[in-house]
């Protein structure tokens, strides 16, 4: 965004560091917190009902692992999404915070409840033996934790839904008057919440099956009980998340549906759309194969079956998140703001006055191409750093030099002039005036010719 300072992330690029934090957060928060709390509450309920000490111990061991993951990694990488967003796309997260402040505030209160009940549930588990009335009230701590945990997901999902399908949220753009209720009640919220809930529980069950395998190496009886119990939950969730997933898909904007295949595989492979199907089915098959092997014969099933199951399911989650992020392009908030932080309605102004005129953190001598053109390359570099670095790096991941390799300056300029075209519908249009576009072309040409 033009009015903020520039943050350089060579080689990895912004997308990569953001995706790293976000995907770790999704794996842990869905698996260890939201899904994990629900699955473990069900497990504890079964242990109480059958007065089964060994099963209760198993549930505690799983909770111990999930507690460490949820508090040390899940919660912090969740805050990390803000921290990454505020240096990578301050305009976008700033806008989201203004629209969703109260929801986030409520989420923080729920987060408190979640954390307190988690600490109490976990730290007092061993002091509440099975078969005593204290255990019954201890179980209620777990239920409270699970409910609070799910509510945090419900709120965050509203914000993710808003980014894709904001609906009719802006009653007037000047002066800006958001409709907060419409933003919350956006069309993809409920379907995506259902989808995420059931895949979180399924994913947590898969993790619990793997952990059960580890924690019951000397106790085949508990292994059979544990793996079959978690396996049944997993099986029950699959049709539910498929159903909600389809409903969710129906809410996507038409333009986003067209990007599905590229999102699922890559642009290079998009000519063979069947590959996307193979990849998805393949990952699902891995997950199911591993789960079935474990379920059919928990005593004999090798560790590799559990690992295959986890690879398959985590691959599916990773693919889903990538597709969801990709098909929203070229926007970060649909139809309102492009991925590089420029509002759609500001394009005519930037075209008229130039992008760098408003670049507060670019030295004034580089805010305009000089009459003799001696600062052209530097101007182009600033434009690159402010508009392109959201997705591209110079030489690293999604390298810009590889994109313009072999092109002359005129070709680059022509291409930049029509970025949001059929060939690259996921790219936002160039923002700025003609002189800036030419400066950017000159800079990119210079970059690629240095590499020859």
């Amino acid at each position: 965004m033009f009015d903020f300072p520039i943050f350089d992330m060579p080689m990895f690029g912004h997308r990569f560091i953001f995706a790293f934090d976000a995907i770790v957060h999704v794996f842990i928060s869905h698996g260890a917190a939201v899904g994990g709390s629900i699955v473990l509450v069900l497990a504890q309920r079964l242990a109480i009902k059958n007065n089964d000490q060994k099963f209760d111990d198993l549930a505690y061991k799983v909770l111990f692992t999930l507690f460490i993951l949820a508090t040390a990694v899940g919660a912090l990488t969740g805050i990390g999404i803000w921290i990454h967003a505020n240096i990578i796309n301050p305009a976008a997260i700033g806008a989201l915070l203004r629209v969703f402040f109260w929801k986030w505030f409520v989420e923080w209160i729920v987060f408190n409840v979640e954390m307190v009940f988690l600490l109490m549930w976990f730290l007092s588990w061993k002091n509440r033996p099975l078969g005593t009335p204290a255990k019954q009230s201890h179980y209620r701590l777990g239920v409270a934790y699970a409910v609070a945990s799910w509510l945090t997901m419900a709120i965050i999902t509203a914000i993710l839904g808003f980014m894709m399908t904001p609906g009719n949220w802006l009653r007037s753009d000047f002066p800006a008057r958001p409709d907060y209720i419409a933003a919350l009640m956006n069309p993809s919220w409920i379907p995506s919440l259902g989808f995420r809930t059931f895949f979180a529980v399924a994913w947590a069950s898969a993790i619990c099956m793997l952990l059960t395998w580890f924690f019951t190496r000397n106790d085949e009886e508990t292994r059979v009980k544990g793996i079959r119990f978690f396996g049944k939950i997993l099986a029950a969730c699959v049709p539910l998340f498929l159903l909600f997933g389809y409903w969710y898909y129906l809410q996507f904007p038409a333009q986003a549906k067209e990007l599905f295949v590229i999102g699922a595989i890559t642009r290079r492979l998009a000519g063979n759309p069947q590959l996307a199907t193979y990849l998805t089915l393949g990952l699902a098959a891995l997950g199911l194969l591993g789960a079935l092997t474990l379920y059919a014969n928990p005593k004999r099933a090798p560790l590799v079956a559990a690992v295959i199951m986890l690879v398959g399911t985590s691959g599916l989650i990773g693919e889903f998140e990538r597709v969801r992020e990709f098909v929203r392009k070229p926007y970060i908030i649909y139809s309102y703001m492009y991925a590089n932080g420029v509002r759609v309605i500001d394009m005519p102004l930037l075209e008229r006055d130039g992008y760098l005129k408003y670049a507060q953190f670019v030295p004034p001598e580089f805010r305009q191409v000089s009459a003799n053109g001696d600062n052209k390359l530097k101007v182009g570099e600033y434009i690159y750093k402010m508009e392109c670095r959201y997705c591209h790096t110079v030489n690293g991941i999604n390298a810009i030099t590889a994109r313009v390799k072999g092109w002359n300056e005129e070709t680059i300029d022509n291409r930049i002039g029509s970025l949001h075209a059929t060939v690259t519908p996921f790219m936002p249009p160039f923002a700025g005036n003609v002189a800036e576009r030419q400066a950017l072309s000159a800079y990119l040409y210079d970059l690629s010719s240095q590499q020859r």
Binding site: M1, D3, F4, P5, I6, F7, I17, D21, T71, A72, V73, A75, L76, T77, I79, G80, W82, I83, H84, N86, I87, P90, I93, A95, L97, R98, V99, F101, F105, W108, F111, M115, L119, F174, A176, R177, P178, Y180, R267, A270, G271, I345, D346, P348, L349, R352, D353, Y358, F361, K405, W407, T411, N414, R415, G417, S418, A421, T422, V423, P425
Partner: protein
């Protein structure tokens, strides 16, 4: 006053539903209160994690199980305060991000990638601290390793305030921003340095207070080792509270007078200095209450709770005057960012409602050419010169039929045009009727 570089405010209102006069003070009170809670947890986290490693080592060196017990007891407040500290940091982070967006985000960006350390460094510190706590009995006979694990978490926890403080001090002082300001500039400045000194001393003092309370509680324990550990906690707590509090009487003013003068002036004219007087007087009373029985153990529970209550007032008062200094420093900058944003939105409105210039391709151009423009073909092709792809005249020279061109748009054959990079991607989304008209136009080019 004018700030040379300042981002525009976010072009959306702060969500008060038009009730600024009611809700803005509520936001600010929430900010100060949640920040105080966050800080107290963080102070105890820093102090208790360090004290635990210190007593662990002392116990191992002197083969004294009471010190080992003190060290182990301290891991519980560490677990609680690391989790609650992070949790209560979220509310101030949310409020600062909404209320002071342009300043806070600009500072965070200038301090990056180091800013990310507050996530990744924190994750690592958490994992080490859990490892330290949960391997206590397993590593009983391998104390050097265990102490190393504990030290790793302490060192990591102690690096986090460096990143936070330099970002906070940077967003408070937009007059110091340059086109090249980065993390190390912000960290190694005297204003940041003295605030850090003030902060770390306060962390020890608050931990001292906590240890006195915890010690009094443990003294009542039926277990003899725990009761003895309680006495050690009480003694340690007294000195941890007293010495840093005395030193902070000097560090505080040093930190205050490093701030830019316009801020100090606004701070004093708003009367915030009376809160300094209040904080110092209460702190001196507390010092007296603690030092009176410094060399013996006759400190009653009532006295410790009195000190804790009084210090709670001091902490709230210091947090309020901290907020006063913040607003004195950033108030003018916030107003400017808001005005800039309003001007920008107004200009933008004018630009987008102005009459549109004529399109690049004239309306009397051939239909095929217009469709080629509409479908984005001209991003890579021109009529008579090579761009990303071949000139259409060259394509025409190959004499493809319209059917062939339709097939090629859906599934290009890059092998036929080996000199061109990158290969043309498949574009099935272009309607076939359009492609046929475009093909006619191409084949008509000579």
């Amino acid at each position: 006053m004018h700030f040379n570089m300042l981002p525009n405010d976010i072009p959306l209102p702060i969500p008060t539903w038009g009730m600024d006069s009611v809700l803005m003070p509520v936001f600010l009170i929430l900010l100060v209160v949640s920040f105080v809670v966050h800080m107290v947890f963080i102070n105890v986290l820093l102090g208790a994690s360090l004290a635990s490693v210190y007593f662990n080592r002392k116990g191992a060196m002197e083969k004294n199980p009471v010190f080992d017990r003190v060290a182990y007891l301290l891991t519980t407040p560490v677990t609680i305060s690391e989790n609650m500290g992070a949790l209560w940091g979220v509310a101030p982070l949310l409020l600062v991000s909404v209320l002071f967006t342009p300043l806070f985000y600009a500072a965070a960006i200038m301090n990056s990638p180091q800013w990310l350390h507050i996530i990744y460094g924190n994750v690592a510190a958490f994992l080490f601290s859990y490892l330290y706590k949960f391997t206590w009995h397993k590593l009983e006979n391998r104390k050097p390793l265990h102490i190393m694990i504990g030290s790793a978490s302490v060192i990591l926890f102690f690096t986090l305030p460096l990143v936070f403080m330099s970002t906070v001090q940077l967003y408070w002082t937009p007059t110091t921003w340059t086109y090249n300001t980065h993390f190390w500039d912000a960290l190694l400045r005297p204003d940041t340095f003295f605030r850090l000194v003030h902060f770390f001393l306060a962390a020890f003092a608050v931990t001292g207070l906590f240890m006195m309370l915890y010690g009094k509680h443990k003294q009542k324990s039926a277990d003899a080792t725990d009761a003895e550990a309680g006495t050690i906690l009480l003694r340690t707590g007294k000195s941890w509270f007293a010495l840093p509090t005395v030193l902070n009487l000097f560090a505080g003013p040093l930190a205050l007078f490093q701030e830019p003068s316009y801020g100090i002036e606004a701070f004093f004219s708003a009367g915030y200095h009376w809160l300094i007087v209040l904080s110092v007087v209460i702190a001196l009373i507390c010092l007296y209450l603690v030092i009176r029985n410094f060399l013996n153990d006759h400190v009653s529970s009532g006295r410790v709770w009195t000190v804790a209550g009084l210090m709670a007032v001091t902490i709230l008062s210091m947090a309020t005057l901290r907020h006063g200094m913040r607003m004195s420093l950033i108030g003018p900058a916030l107003a400017q960012a808001k005005a800039q944003s309003e001007q920008f939105q107004k200009d933008s409105y004018e630009a987008r409602t102005a009459p549109k210039p004529a399109p690049a391709i004239a309306a009397d151009a051939p239909v095929g050419k217009q469709l080629a423009e509409k479908n984005g073909c001209l991003a890579c092709h021109a009529e008579d010169k090579r761009l990303v792809g071949p000139a259409y005249k060259e394509v025409a020279a190959r004499g493809y039929t319209a059917d062939k061109i339709v097939a090629l748009v859906k599934q290009p054959v890059p092998a036929d045009w080996p000199d061109y990079q990158p290969p043309m991607p498949p574009m099935p989304q272009v309607p076939e009727a359009d492609v046929r008209q475009i093909a006619d136009w191409i084949n008509g080019l000579k």
